[in-house]
Amino acid sequence: MGNFDLLMQGFGTSFTFANVLLAIAGGFMGLFVGAMPGIGAVTGVALLLPLTFKMDPTSAIIMLAGIYYGNMYGGAYSAILLNIPGDSPAVMTALDGYPMSRKGRGGKALFAANISSFIGGTVGIITLTLFGPLLAKVGLKFGPAEIAALILLALTSIGWLLGEDPLKGIVASALGILISTIGMDSMAGGVGRYTFGSVNLLSGFSFIPLVIGMFGLPQVMELMAKKQEGESLTSGKRLTLKESLLDRSELKRILPTAFKSSILGNFVGFLPGAGGTTGSFLAYVLEKKTGKNSKEMGSGAIEGVAASESANNAAAVGAFAPLLTLGIPGSGTTAVLLGGLMMWGLQPGPLLFIQQTDFVWGLISSMYIGNVACILAGLIMIPFLMSILKIPRGIIAPMIVFVCIVGAYSVNNNMFDVWFMIAAGVVAYVMQKHKYPIAPILLAFVLAPRFEQAIRRAFSISNGSAKIFIEKPISAALLAATAIFIFAPVIMKLVKRLRTK
C-alpha cells in the first residue's frame, strides 16, 4: 500500500466530528499557552499531556497535535503584540513583528504570522508524508562535526546582520555566548563553570527569563520614559479589523518568502540537535540576503515575520521524522510526546511505522487537521488579540510587568529567574540606548551551547584532530560557505575600490 492510501486510511480513523472538535479545542489551548511568556511548547505539551491519558490514543494524539501547533502559532503572538517572544524561534518574529505593531500594523503582522505558520506547517507535513523516513536517514549524516559547521555558519552571520554598528554587533553576540557558558559543563562530567560559587548559577541561565528581561521589560521601560498618558501601544493609531486584513500585494510579498523559508526550515528540523531556532534564523538570513525588501527587514518588514514563522513551524514538523522513523526525539517537545506514547502503551521506535500503521498515519493525518484547526482558531482570536493593542499604556504597563514576573518564575519555578529577568532588563535597556543590538545576544545564547557541544564532541571523536571538519564533505562545504560569508563583503569592497581607481 502506498503512503497516500495509508494517509487516506489515517484520515478515516482520525476525521470524526469529535476528533475535529478536540483538535480545535487543543488548538485554542495551545494558542493560549503558547502566547503566555514562560510557558513554551515543551512545558505546554507536558502540562496538557495528562489531560489526554484518559482518551484513546488516536483522539489523544489529535488533541496533542492541536496543542503542539497552537503553541507554535501562539509563540508569535506575544512577540508581535508585546515584544515578548513566547519561545526561542519567535525572537526572529519579534524583530519585525513588534515594529509593525508600533506602526499600527500589528493586525497585519498577526495575519502574516498565521498564514506563514500554516504554510510552514503544511509544507512540513507534506514533506514528512512523502519523504519522512528518507530525510530522517539523511539527517543522521549530520554528526557533531557537521552540526558544528552549520551552527558556525549561523553564528557568523549574526553580528553582521543586526544593528547599525558591526563592532557592537560582534560584542553583543560574543557576550551572548559568554552568558551561555555559565553553568554546568555537560561535556566534562558536569563541572560548574563561571558559577562563582552560586548554586543558582549551576544550572545556567534559562532562555525565557533572559528573553522576557531583554525584550519585554525594556519596552515597558521605554513606554514609561516618556510622559504621555492615555496613549495606547500603537501610539494612538486606529486599528480596525478591515484594515488589518492582508491585501493582494502583501500576500504576494509573503508567499514566496514563506515557501522558501518552509523548505529550509523543514530541512533543518530533520537534523538531529539543530533545532527550530537555527531554522528560523537561517531562513531570516536567507531572506535578508536574497529578498527584495531586505533593507526594511528589522524595522517592520512583513517578510521578516513570514520567513521566521514559516521556517519555525516547518522545522517543528521536521522534528517528528526522527521520532517516528527512528524512535529518537528530535526536539524537547517530541521527547515529551515520546513519554506520552509509552503511557498509551505504544512502543516508540522504528517498528511503530510497521506495527502500528493505524496510529502513525492517524498521527500524520491529525497533523493536517491540527494545522487547519489552528489557523481557524488563530483567525478567530486575532480580533481579540488586536484589542490588546488598544488598551491605554497606563493600564497595560503594570500588566505586562506582572506577566513578565510570572512568566520568568514559571520556567523553573524559581524566584532567582525573576531577579535575573529584571537585571537582564535593566542591562538590555542601557545597552540598547547605547546602540548595542539586543537580538544577537539572545540568538547567540541559544545557538552557542549546541555549537560548543558539537565542536567539542567532534574533537573528542577525532581525538583532538581538526581534520574531522575537512574530511567530511558536508562540514567542509558548510565551512567553505562560512568563509565566503565572512570574506565576501571584504573582497567586494576591495574589488569596488580597485575599480574606482
Binding site: G143, G183, M184, G189, L202, S203, G327, R457
Partner: protein, 325 residues
C-alpha cells in the same frame, strides 16, 4: 460616601483573597497541605516519568489522603533540584525528591551543593545498563570490540550521557585492559542518532532507551552490565561475567528522598505508601517490565546506607580516573 464604598470594596476583595490563599493550605490529618514532589529534571525525561507515574498510581489507588504536586526543578544534573529540596527553610515533611544513582553521584561530587541532609525513604527500582552497537557495523559481538580497541587504542568511541555512563566505560577499560574513548552526549536519544549515523561506534544505554531500536534490528546489545542475562529482546546480550570480566557489573537505583528534617514518622508513612505503589500491577507492568528494570523495593533502613555506599564507591572510582577533583 463613595470613598467609604470603595474602601469597603477594597477590604472585601483583599479579605476574600487572603482567605482563598489560606484555603490552599487547608488543615486536617497529614498531609494537611499539598506535598511537593520534586523531579530534579525537566518535563518528559526519565526522572519526570518516574515521578508522574508514581503520583498517578497513588491517586488512582487513593494511597494518600491529600494532594501531591510534581515540581520540575531541572538543571545541574539534579543538583539544582536537590539544593531546593534540601533547603532547611522548607518544611521537610512536605517535600519529596526523586534521586537516581547518577544524580546521587553528581551530588557527592558537587562542591557547590551539600544535600547530605536529604532523608532517604525508599528505592523503587534498579535500572540496568547495556553496551549497545549499531546493527550492520563490523562489530558482531564483544570480542570484535576488544579486537578493534586493541588495534586502535583510544580511537573507538562510545557515546555516554552522564558521569555514570562514563564510569561504565572506564570499568570496561580497567577490567579488559583496553582504551575505549567516552564521548559525552546530552541524552540517550542523541547517542542513538550519532551511532546510527556512524559518528560514534557504541553507546551506553538503559534498556528502555534502546528497546525500540533493538526490536527493529537497528541496534544490538553486545553486553550487559547485569548479574544475570536479561529476558526478551535483550536475551542475546551476554553479561560481562559470562565474557570473563566478573567485576564489570552495575545497576543504577531510582529512589525517593525526603526534604531536610523529615521526621521519622513521616519517613515511615511514605515508605509504606511507596511499598504499596511498588506492589501495584500498574507499576509492575507499565514501569518495571516494559522498561526492563529490576523491581526490588528497598525500605529506608536499607536504602540509606546503600545510596551512600554506592555513590561513595563511584565517586572514588571517578576520582581515580580524574573525573572529579
Amino acid at each position: 460616601m463613595k470613598r467609604t464604598l470603595i474602601a469597603l470594596l477594597l477590604v472585601f476583595i483583599v479579605t476574600g483573597m487572603v482567605s482563598a490563599q489560606g484555603a490552599e493550605e487547608a488543615a486536617g490529618a497529614y498531609p494537611e497541605r499539598p506535598v511537593e514532589f520534586v523531579a530534579p529534571a525537566s518535563a518528559g525525561g526519565g526522572t519526570d516519568t518516574f515521578c508522574r507515574l508514581i503520583v498517578d498510581i497513588i491517586n488512582k489507588n487513593d494511597l494518600v489522603d491529600g494532594n501531591i504536586v510534581v515540581i520540575n526543578k531541572p538543571g545541574g544534573g539534579g543538583t539544582v533540584g536537590a539544593a531546593y529540596a534540601s533547603d532547611t527553610n522548607r518544611d521537610g515533611n512536605y517535600t519529596l525528591i526523586a534521586i537516581n544513582g547518577a544524580q546521587a553521584l553528581g551530588l557527592r561530587a558537587s562542591t557547590e551543593v551539600d544535600a547530605s541532609n536529604l532523608v532517604p525513604i525508599a528505592a523503587l527500582a534498579m535500572d540496568n545498563v547495556l553496551f549497545v552497537g549499531a546493527t550492520g557495523s563490523q562489530y558482531a559481538d564483544f570480542d570484535d570490540v576488544i579486537a578493534a580497541a586493541k588495534s586502535n587504542p583510544g580511537g573507538i568511541n562510545v557515546g555516554v550521557a552522564d558521569n555514570l555512563d562514563r564510569l561504565c566505560v572506564e570499568m570496561i577499560n580497567d577490567s579488559v585492559g583496553i582504551e575505549l574513548n567516552g564521548v559525552y552526549f546530552d541524552s540517550a536519544g542523541e547517542i542513538s542518532s550519532a551511532m546510527l549515523g556512524g559518528h560514534v561506534d557504541f553507546g551506553i544505554m538503559n534498556p528502555n532507551e534502546c528497546i525500540g531500536q533493538i526490536q527493529a534490528d537497528m541496534m544490538v546489545p553486545l553486553a550487559a552490565f547485569t548479574e544475570k542475562r536479561l529476558d526478551g529482546d535483550f536475551a542475546s546480550a551476554p553479561t560481562f561475567a559470562e565474557l570473563g570480566y566478573e567485576d564489570v557489573q552495575f545497576q543504577m537505583f531510582r529512589g525517593i528522598m525526603g526534604g531536610a528534617g523529615m521526621s521519622a514518622e513521616t519517613v515511615e508513612y511514605w515508605s509504606a505508601v511507596f511499598e504499596q505503589v511498588a506492589a501495584t500491577d500498574q507499576w509492575k507492568s507499565d514501569y518495571i517490565n516494559k522498561r526492563a528494570l529490576d523491581g526490588n523495593y528497598m525500605g529506608a533502613a536499607k536504602f540509606g546506607p546503600y545510596a551512600t555506599k554506592n555513590s561513595e564507591q563511584l565517586f572514588q572510582m571517578g576520582k581515580k580516573i580524574g573525573l572529579f577533583e
